[in-house]
Subunit: 218 residues, 2 copies
DNA sequence: GAGACTTTTTATACATGTATAGAAAGTAGC
DNA sequence: GCTACTTTCTATACATGTATAAAAAGTCTC
C-alpha cells in the first residue's frame, strides 16, 4: 500500500511541463526562466527544483514531449536499407530543427529523447539488414547522430547570429587572408558567405550512408 | 599621423588574453569569470567590455591562440587527396579535443578560428585536386566541420556528465524500453553504454571522404 | 588655457540559475 | 494527541554575465 508520507505536493512534473509549454507558446522561448515558470505554476522558483534536477533536464523533457509528437512514419515497403537510414536521419533532423532552444539541450545529452527512440531503432535496424553487425550498426547511428547534432548546432548558431546581426566575424576573417598560404580560401572570398548558407545536410547523410553501409547486392 | 584622442587605455586586448591564459592555466577553466579576469588584469569587470564584445568572443580569441599553436603539418608528398582530407580533419579534431571549454564556443561560431584556417584550406584544396569543383569542395568542408563539431560536443558533454556522475539518463531509458516496438535497442541493452564509449571519429571521417570524393582514378 | 569632444574606466544595478537552511504539512508509532 | 520522521515548499543569498549612466583623462580648436 503506497500511502505517501510527508507533506503532500502542491505541484507535479506534469504541471511544470504544461506551464512551460504555455509560456513558450505564448511568449517565446526566451521567456522561459525558472522565476517566470514558478509564477505560472503558482509557486516559488526553488520549489521547481524538487521536481526537476535543473533547467537542462526541464528542457530535455520538453524536447521529449515535442519529439513524441512527431509520429514514426511507416517504413517504406520496398525501400533499400540505405534509403531507410537516410529517411530516418532526415526525419530526426527535421524534428530537431523546429526546436529553437535545441542548442542549449544538445550540450546536455547525446542520445535522443526517450519517446523519440524510433530514430536510432530505425537506423540500426536498417543497417543490420544492410549486412552490418549490431555493433557496427550502433557506430553508424552514433556517427549520424554526431553529424546531425553538429549541423543543427551550427544552423541554430547561425540563426542567432543573424538575429543579433553581428558582423559575422567571417567577413573580418576573409579580409585579412594570407592569399599566399591560403589560396583556395582567398579565391573563394566573397562567395563564402553564400556557399555556407546552403543546406548540405542531405548531401552529408547520403555520403555517410554510402561510406558506411556495404553496397547493396546488385 | 594617428594621434589617438580620448582617455588613454590602461589595458589592452593582449593584456586580457594573457591574463585569461594565466587564470586558466593555474586555476582551470571554471575560474575564468569576468570578475576574476578583471582582478587579474587590475581593473573592473566592465572595463573588459571595451576590449571584448562578450565572453564568447573572449573564448573565441583564446581558441584562436590555442589553435595557432598547433602547427600546420607538411602535406604528405604522395598522399592521395582523400588521405589528405582525412589527415586534416583528424588534426582539426585533435586540436579542438584538447580545449575543455570548447563546448561553450562552438555554439557561437561555425567557422574555425582565424589562425587555424589551414584546416579548411587543406580540405578544400585536396577535394579540388580529387576532382570536385570549388563549390563542392566547400560543401565537403562544411559537412566535415559539422560532423567534427558534433562529435566534439558530444564528447565534451559526456565527459562533463561523467564528472557530475549523473545517472546517465540512458540507463533509465533502456530500462523502460518497449521491446516490441524497439527490438534492436532492446537487444543491445546493457551493451549500449560500452558501445557508445568507443571512438568512432575516424570511421565517420573515412566514410564521409569515401562518400563525398570521387573514387581515385585506378 | 577654456571649453568641446572622444575614448576608456568605474559604479551601480539587474536578471538569471541555483545552493542552503529551515519552515510547513502531512503520516506512523505510541 | 504527542513525538519522530519524511517530503515538499519557502526565504534568503550568491555568483555570474552584462546593461546603463556617469565620471575620468586625455586631445583639439580657438
Amino acid at each position: 500500500m503506497p500511502t505517501r508520507t510527508g507533506r503532500p505536493p502542491r505541484i507535479s512534473k506534469t504541471d511544470i511541463l504544461a506551464a512551460a509549454h504555455r509560456v513558450i507558446g505564448s511568449e517565446g522561448t526566451q521567456a522561459l526562466t525558472m522565476r517566470r515558470l514558478a509564477r505560472e505554476v503558482g509557486t516559488t522558483p526553488m520549489a521547481l527544483y524538487h521536481h526537476v534536477r535543473d533547467k537542462d533536464e526541464l528542457l530535455l523533457m520538453l524536447l521529449d514531449d515535442y519529439a513524441a509528437g512527431v509520429p514514426r512514419p511507416e517504413p517504406p515497403a520496398g525501400a533499400a536499407p540505405g534509403e531507410r537510414v537516410v529517411a530516418a536521419a532526415v526525419a530526426m533532423r527535421g524534428a530537431l530543427m523546429g526546436v529553437p532552444w535545441i542548442i542549449e539541450v544538445l550540450r546536455a545529452d547525446d542520445l535522443m529523447s526517450v519517446r523519440a527512440l524510433w530514430y536510432p531503432e530505425e537506423i540500426i535496424d536498417a543497417s543490420v539488414l544492410a549486412g552490418l553487425t549490431p555493433e557496427e550498426a550502433v557506430d553508424v547511428y552514433r556517427i549520424i547522430w554526431h553529424y546531425t547534432a553538429g549541423e543543427i548546432t551550427a544552423r541554430a548558431a547561425a540563426a542567432r547570429r543573424r538575429e543579433d546581426d553581428r558582423p559575422t566575424h567571417r567577413s573580418e576573417v576573409f579580409e585579412n587572408l594570407d592569399a599566399a598560404r591560403l589560396p583556395r580560401l582567398a579565391a573563394l572570398g566573397a562567395q563564402w558567405e553564400e556557399l555556407t548558407a546552403r543546406d548540405t545536410y542531405d548531401k552529408g547523410i547520403r555520403a555517410l550512408v554510402r561510406g558506411l553501409l556495404p553496397p547493396p547486392a546488385a
